[in-house]
């Protein structure tokens, strides 16, 4: 069956007009639709760049009267809040991505071997699908008692509560019959359990591990609500800084922080489109 679909795709790729002749829709206003969507999706980049580069841009000017790079160069200055926010966001997102990918990989394996895996899958959805701010509201009293509130460790732990279940759900398709058979085969051929894991299963899962790393990185990178609530504004990641600058009516620095927030996802889109979409549900 999938072969029928791929054959159809090949035919269409070879001759884009085939489908319209076969009575399929949408053969036309391609350029109109493309230009419309291109305009819609590129407008945020244009406006954010104008805000970041424009100086003395007041109502009713449609474009800034002068342009300067001073707001952007602040990122390079070591003592600026933007630079520290950028480093903090990178640190948090990297730690969360590594820990949750590793954790999710082994938890997914344990879930696959459990007597009622469906129940564990359902349980995993609860913290992952719950709005992050509500999760933060629930756990904050315990974090206060444990002196984790307002700390970097507290924010990382809070994010892990979302990303580890996400990663566990992400890897559940990997730990199927095929992975088990590979593991058994390598054990039969003389591998120890550790060798089978390191030399057979890890290389087999490598593409999924990389995608999961990207996606958990983005979850942590994008988060604002949970980080802001648990850190009571003390851990000033880039998203928290966007909010602070908006509150201070400093739209230039808010735009610079927003542009910085867009860099990793744009790079990921360039490297691998699948890394952007969360394919869990």
């Amino acid at each position: 069956m999938p072969s029928n679909q791929s054959t159809l795709d090949e035919v269409v790729r070879a001759n884009p007009d085939t489908k319209s002749r076969a009575g399929l829709p949408g053969s036309m206003p391609r350029s109109g639709l493309a230009w419309g969507l291109l305009l819609l999706f590129s407008l945020p980049f244009v406006l954010l760049l104008l805000l970041a580069l424009g100086q003395y841009w007041r109502f009713p000017d449609v474009l800034p009267p002068t342009y300067a790079l001073d707001a952007l160069t602040r990122v390079l200055s070591a003592d600026s809040a933007l630079a520290s926010g950028l480093l903090l966001s990178l640190l948090i997102a990297t730690v969360v991505a590594i820990v949750s990918t590793a954790g999710g990989f082994v938890v997914a394996r344990a879930i696959a071997g459990a007597t009622r895996p469906d129940r564990w899958v359902t349980l995993s959805y609860l913290p992952y699908a719950l709005p992050p701010v509500l999760l933060a509201v629930l756990i904050q009293p315990y974090f206060i008692r444990l002196h984790l509130s307002g700390s970097l460790v507290g924010v990382v732990l809070g994010l892990l509560l979302i990303t580890i279940p996400f990663a566990a759900l992400f890897f559940r398709s990997f730990w199927g019959e095929q992975a088990r058979q590979y593991e058994q085969l390598s054990r039969t051929l003389g591998c120890t359990q550790v060798q089978a894991f390191r030399r057979v299963l890890l290389p087999l899962a490598r593409p999924l591990l990389i995608t999961c790393l990207f996606q958990t990185f983005l979850i942590a990178w994008f988060d604002f609500g949970l980080t802001n609530y648990l850190s009571v504004g003390k851990v000033q990641t880039l998203t928290v800084q966007v909010f602070i600058y908006v509150g201070e009516a400093n739209s230039r620095l808010a735009a610079v922080a927003s542009l910085l927030l867009l860099i990793p996802p744009v790079l990921l889109l360039w490297l691998n489109r699948k890394a952007i979409v969360r394919r869990v549900v």
Binding site: P29, A34, L47, F59, L134, L138, I139, F224, G225
Partner: protein, 280 residues
């Protein structure tokens, strides 16, 4: 084996135990058993609940935003996928549709704040075109009573995601072949879209749509920048109550947090169980 079950119990303790303990703590707050002003068990806050008109408004507003934004995004995505199927498979669409997914919701909110505000980019253009005389003359598109800014931000983030989702489901369900079959049997394109394609896509996407709706219902970043103080969305309503200096607001804040979380957990649980039963 023992190691595996130990790991699972640790996992359960962390990812489910902690939120459930938080839920229990919120319940204790709501009946006056814990908290800085605790005076022992009291049903007072539960009894006050029906009289909290701002809560009911907040609940109604959140439901309205979730239903309207997910509904509009679904309609847009369905139109794109069913009407422009061939077009969407060609450059630049497969990449273009990923672009809005690069935006954190807070950045999307900030962008719309700068675009649609009274002195925003659109207002400046309207002024230069002599359509308005001052920022006050520009229609309220953000921080308005109808939540237009919030809706626009949510739809802007959701419809490309739904389009990619439907596009992938369209290929999985081999709808092109079904389309040819129905055409052979005499159905029009509209009949195929309405009676075959849309129901199949919506049924397969239902769990994702419900979970997305839950996320919108509990959205925080977007309404924080683009919403008003009244009506507030639920997450903002709860956090505002919990972060006020007035400690007497805490039990009611936790009570609402407890109830909302319980309902959302029930929805998430039912959705995932339904997905598993129907192997979607």
């Amino acid at each position: 084996m023992k190691q595996r079950s130990l790991l699972l119990w640790l996992y359960a303790l962390l990812v489910v135990g902690l939120p459930l303990a938080g839920l229990f703590n919120a319940f204790l707050y709501s009946v006056g058993l814990v908290g800085p002003l605790s005076v022992g068990f009291t049903p007072r806050y539960w009894q006050q609940l029906p009289g909290e008109t701002s809560l009911l408004t907040s609940l109604g507003f959140s439901l309205y935003v979730a239903v309207v934004s997910v509904g509009l995004a679904v309609i847009l995505a369905l139109v794109l996928v069913l009407r422009y199927q061939t077009t969407l498979r060609h450059w630049p669409f497969p990449t273009l549709l990923y672009v809005p997914l690069l935006f954190p919701s807070l950045v999307m909110a900030f962008y719309l704040f700068q675009l649609l505000g009274g002195s925003g980019w659109l207002a400046r253009m309207a002024y230069q075109l002599h359509l308005i005389q001052s920022p006050a003359g520009f229609p309220e598109l953000i921080q308005d009573g109808a939540g237009l800014g919030i809706l626009l931000a949510q739809v802007g983030l959701a419809f490309p995601f739904f389009t990619l989702l439907f596009q992938s489901l369209y290929a999985d369900a081999r709808l092109d072949e079904l389309r040819n079959l129905t055409r052979t049997l005499g159905a029009s394109s509209w009949q195929f879209n309405r009676r075959v394609a849309a129901p199949i896509l919506l049924r397969r996407a239902a769990p994702t749509l419900v979970l997305y709706g839950v996320a919108v219902l509990g959205a925080y970043d977007i309404p924080l920048l683009l919403g008003r103080n009244y009506p507030q969305m639920l997450s903002l309503y709860i956090t505002t109550k919990l972060q006020r200096f007035d400690l007497t607001e805490l039990p009611m804040g936790y009570l609402v947090g407890f109830l909302v979380t319980l309902v959302l957990m029930a929805v998430i649980y039912a959705t995932t169980r339904w997905t598993q039963r129907h192997a979607l």
